[in-house]
């Protein structure tokens, strides 16, 4: 598989804040690459740099092995932050502008194809300003697919959508993914990312914490849910070890991550040796959310 994107030591700072620190990643053809991180972790800054609208302080990136040429972006469909269109123009006129910029052949056909795909064909002559947020997001997705690009870059594509809108958007993205296109997606919705992505990068405060396949990311540590009468003492014990860490604290229990080499019996013994008897200990089925919380804690 050929490399679609490589970044090397990307760095961006705003006055005193480092928004992105030494980011080096690569995305290969056909991957669905999830960019995860809490607010302010540098996801949008990263995508902004890759899409030519934010200037990096240091570092380089290359699309399709072709450097940072403006032409590269014609082969990338992108939705960054919010759908941006001319509010006084209708859906077709807006897409005509995009088609001209991207040199789309047979633009009329292409516009009809993408508008039908996102279920906006019936509203093709409605002005953008009359669209609901869900419709605006769908138009943005239609616009990103207009030139039938090899890569889609989607930044929080379900932002502000209601549950039905989220389901529709997820279904659309899943369909596009099935066509074998490379998708780079930044999202808070970890469940969605887990369902869709083949690869994940986890960021926090502008730094890349983990990157790899979904399996690699999720099989690093085991997770256990434990219960005890005195959770404060349990925490003290955990804090005194270097192979157990707290991931989450739901009411009356603790979600902990433990090194792979320790069995449940080993962990139970650690607490028993300190005079703490756990009332509950069970293996927690790992998902991306718990893994994410473990990594960014």
């Amino acid at each position: 598989m050929s490399k679609v994107l490589t970044t090397q030591h990307l760095r961006k700072e705003y006055k005193d804040t480092v928004a992105l620190e030494d980011l080096s990643i690569s995305v290969e053809e056909g991957q669905i690459f999830g960019l995860l991180g809490p607010n302010g972790s540098g996801k949008t800054t990263t995508l902004g740099i890759l899409l030519g609208v934010i200037k990096p302080k240091q570092g380089t990136f290359s699309w399709f092995g072709n450097g940072q040429k403006d032409e590269n972006r014609k082969n990338i469909g992108a939705l960054l932050e919010t759908p941006n269109f001319y509010p006084y123009l209708n859906a077709v006129d807006n897409l005509k502008i995009v088609a001209k910029i991207k040199d789309v052949p047979n633009s009329e056909e292409a516009i009809e194809r993408v508008l039908r795909r996102v279920n906006l064909w019936e509203r093709k002559m409605s002005k953008f300003k009359t669209f609901s947020l869900g419709m605006k997001q769908r138009l943005a997705l239609a616009s990103s697919m207009l030139a039938d690009p090899d890569v889609l870059v989607l930044d929080e594509p379900t932002n502000g959508l209601d549950p039905q809108g989220i389901a529709e958007m997820r279904s659309l993205i899943m369909d596009i993914a099935k066509e074998g296109k490379t998708i780079i997606i930044a999202s808070h919705l970890l469940d969605e990312i887990e369902k869709m992505c083949t690869h994940v990068a986890i960021m926090k405060y502008g730094e890349l914490l983990q990157v790899g396949t979904l399996e690699e990311i999720m099989t690093q540590d085991r997770m256990l849910m434990i219960q005890a009468d005195d959770l404060a003492k349990v925490k003290e014990v955990i804090n005194s070890t270097d192979y157990i860490s707290i991931i989450d604290e739901p009411v009356g229990e603790l979600l902990i991550a433990v090194d792979e080499k320790y069995t449940n019996a080993d962990i139970n013994k650690v607490f028993a040796d300190k005079g703490i008897y756990l009332s509950g200990l069970k293996t927690h089925r790992k998902n991306l959310e718990s893994t994410f919380l473990e990594i960014v804690k």
Binding site: V53, I54, D70, R73, L80, N84, Y88, K102, D103
Partner: protein
């Protein structure tokens, strides 16, 4: 180039603000030109005779060209507002950012807007030419159309200069209302500075100020004759740049405003 023109035209063709301002311009400018003519005919005619300048019919060839270009120049501020709106809309709607994401280069973005400026200047100049031609043909005994026609290309340059100045403000400020306020304020501020410089006997410096240079491209039609008459009476002559020097100064500013705009856009994040 054709592609950029098509893109910009697609953005402009349904922009209501453009339609309204253009309609106001088309409807109002002949009336304003005629009102100014009536004013000069009624009040200035006798004064010119007293000053020894003689008869002057601003609606007859060849003077009509100087007169319509001078009168129309007042509308350059209004048309400059269109340039501000067109550019700041791109920031407000974040479409400038989206155009770049979709594959345009920053140079193409600026070039596209330069075409808008060029297009508006062409429309305004053509309309002014037609106005001059109609008024001239209706009020002249001879059809000496080409005498004094050089005022038209100079007026064209003037519109380009004013619009590039408006574009520069829009790029710098990004907000529509603020850009329009600053654009209009700049005329007042420059005039005040000019006044202060004149009092301090530093008119020569003021002659090189951008808006003053632009306005001097289409001076009051018989300004030179009036200055000459004043000179004969008092010996005091206000400092004026030679026409060609003034044209070069204006071209310098126009290019400068576009280059600074490009530099600003290239330098900052979208």
């Amino acid at each position: 180039m054709k592609k950029l023109l098509a893109i910009e035209f697609a953005k402009l063709k349904k922009l209501n603000a453009l339609r309204v301002i253009l309609l106001v311009y088309i409807g109002l400018s002949p009336l304003v030109v005629y009102a100014l003519y009536s004013f000069f005919d009624t009040f200035m005619g006798p004064m010119l005779k007293i000053a020894g300048i003689g008869e002057w019919n601003p609606f007859a060839f060849p003077d009509v060209w100087a007169f319509v270009t001078y009168s129309s120049s007042f509308f350059n501020v209004l048309m400059g507002v269109i340039v501000v709106i067109v550019m700041t809309n791109e920031y407000n709607y974040k479409t400038l950012k989206q155009n770049v994401i979709d594959g345009m280069s920053l140079k193409q973005v600026i070039l596209g807007k330069f075409f808008v400026v060029f297009f508006l200047s062409t429309i305004v100049t053509l309309y002014t030419f037609i106005m001059g031609l109609v008024y001239g043909l209706l009020n002249s005994e001879s059809a000496d159309v080409w005498n004094g026609i050089s005022n038209i290309p100079v007026y064209y340059l003037q519109t380009l200069c004013y619009f590039s100045f408006a574009f520069f403000f829009a790029t710098l400020v990004k907000r529509t209302a603020l850009s329009i306020i600053f654009f209009i304020l700049s005329f007042i501020v420059e005039t005040i500075i000019g006044g202060i410089l004149a009092i301090s006997k530093l008119e020569m410096i003021y002659a090189f100020f951008p808006l003053n240079s632009f306005s001097k491209l289409t001076p009051f039609p018989i300004l030179k004759e009036m200055v000459k008459a004043a000179q004969e009476r008092s010996g005091n002559v206000p400092f004026m740049l030679d026409n060609w020097v003034n044209i070069l100064v204006c071209i310098f500013y126009m290019v400068l405003f576009f280059l600074i705009s490009l530099w600003v856009i290239k330098r900052r994040d979208l």
